[in-house]
Amino acid sequence: MKKILFIEDESVLQKALGDILKQKGYEMISALNGEIGFNLAKAEKPDLILLDLVLPKMHGFEVLKKLKEESETKEIPVIVLTNLERMEDVGQAVKLGAAAYLVKAQYTIEEVMEKIKKAIGE
């Protein structure tokens, strides 16, 4: 079973996406802030990380930077899933090695699922 880590402080989104992922046969682990998210990524080595940017404790970009610095986590694909849309943010995410940058409000869960499948290679 593929394991997906969702780092997101909105618990409503955690639940919504978590319910779907479970039904589609994935295992989802959730983190409500950046610090827990980074530690979980190291401990659990998920197949994919969904990362919000505006997060308590540690900003999403810092999480992404640290993930890409650590040898155990740098190969894990990271999809940035945020509601920020400035070009600087998109550029920064790509520079730091994000596999994709999705603006949450513009995507349905269905479409997010498509991106997840693609990133995991299914």
Partner: protein, 314 residues
């Protein structure tokens, strides 16, 4: 005469729109500079033809005129810089606002998709939870938009104030009983102690309600893991004096100067919660000042915060 030219050129209105006083506004300064140049040309011609025997005097006058022009040009450059800053702040404002609006909107969108999807089976017990999520996030959006509209009205100066005889005591009582459930859920004791025989105040109750709501909401929200929130209301000479004391996280000393600024959120709060809009206290201050009162606070990080406001009785 000068005033009529200004109104015709509509300069003061333009300057107001930028939020500049006349003496810091580029359009006005250009006009002044033009005036000074025209005037000095005439004057220096007159002086030049009259005092031609004293070239020292002429060069001194030219020096003074140049200095004046230099100062005006300098102030003008500065005002352009401020104009650029205003425009930068505006785009930053739109960036923050769109993010803040999108967060509850995404919650609603995704939850709704789950509720209506034919593909996904919804366990029956979960439907209610999901509907509650939708309801909460709609309320979050409404609150944010209300705050934004108030702010926009405050900044445009088209802020309607409808004053009438109001019992601040009853207004607070109503809010306290409304917040009681929320407080109890967070293990917080919420109490209100009004002085006896308080007079009514001539003020705008719907605006005041927003202030009281914001202050109670903050006090409860930022008192983590149980504690006390105590509200006092008393008469102090010609004012009513409101005090709300919490035993919450407090505001770090170095950030206390920014607390009433638009979108400002203290660092210790930001580490725990990213959901607030940073608009509440800005709205409170704008309203209280508009109603002729004062608002301030005392706070110690880790100990708690006390917010005060006064309102003139008449």
């Amino acid at each position: 005469m000068l005033k009529r030219i200004f109104t015709q050129l509509n300069i003061s209105a333009q300057c107001r729109r930028y939020g500049f006083s006349l003496w810091r506004c580029p359009q006005f300064l250009f006009l002044v500079m033009g005036g000074v140049i025209a005037l000095t040309s005439i004057v220096s011609y007159l002086i030049g033809t009259r005092y031609i025997t004293d070239p020292k005097m002429v060069s001194l006058i030219i020096l003074v005129i140049n200095t004046i022009l230099f100062i005006i040009a300098f102030v003008m450059t500065q005002s352009f810089e401020r104009l650029a800053e205003v425009s930068r702040m505006k785009s930053e404002f739109i960036n923050i606002i769109s993010h803040q609006l999108r967060s509850p909107l995404t919650n609603i969108k995704w939850t709704f998709e789950l509720l209506t999807s034919k593909e996904i089976e919804m366990p029956s017990g979960k439907v209610e939870e999901y509907l509650n999520n939708v309801k909460e996030n709609i309320a979050r959006m409404v609150e944010l938009i209300d705050n934004l509209l108030i702010i926009s009205k405050i900044e445009q100066g088209t802020f309607p104030v409808l004053k009438k005889e109001t019992s601040l005591e009853n207004l607070i009582k109503k809010q306290v009983s409304r917040y009681k459930v929320f407080a109890e859920a967070s293990h917080i004791e919420l109490n209100f102690y009004p002085q006896k025989n308080l007079p009514e105040v001539f003020t705008d109750p719907s605006l005041l309600k927003l202030v009281v709501e914001n202050l109670i909401d903050n006090a409860i929200r930022y008192t983590k893991g149980g504690g006390k929130v105590k509200i006092d209301l008393e008469r102090r000479e010609k004012d009513l004096f409101f005090k709300i004391k919490d035993s919450g996280v407090g505001i770090p000393k170095k950030e206390q100067g920014y607390i009433f600024q638009k979108f400002f959120r203290a660092e210790n709060i930001l580490k725990e919660r990213t959901k607030g809009s940073g608009l509440g206290l800005y709205v409170c201050k704008s309203i209280i000042e508009k109603l002729g009162g004062k608002i301030w606070f005392e706070s110690k990080e880790g100990k708690g915060t006390i917010f005060y406001f006064t309102l003139p009785i008449k």
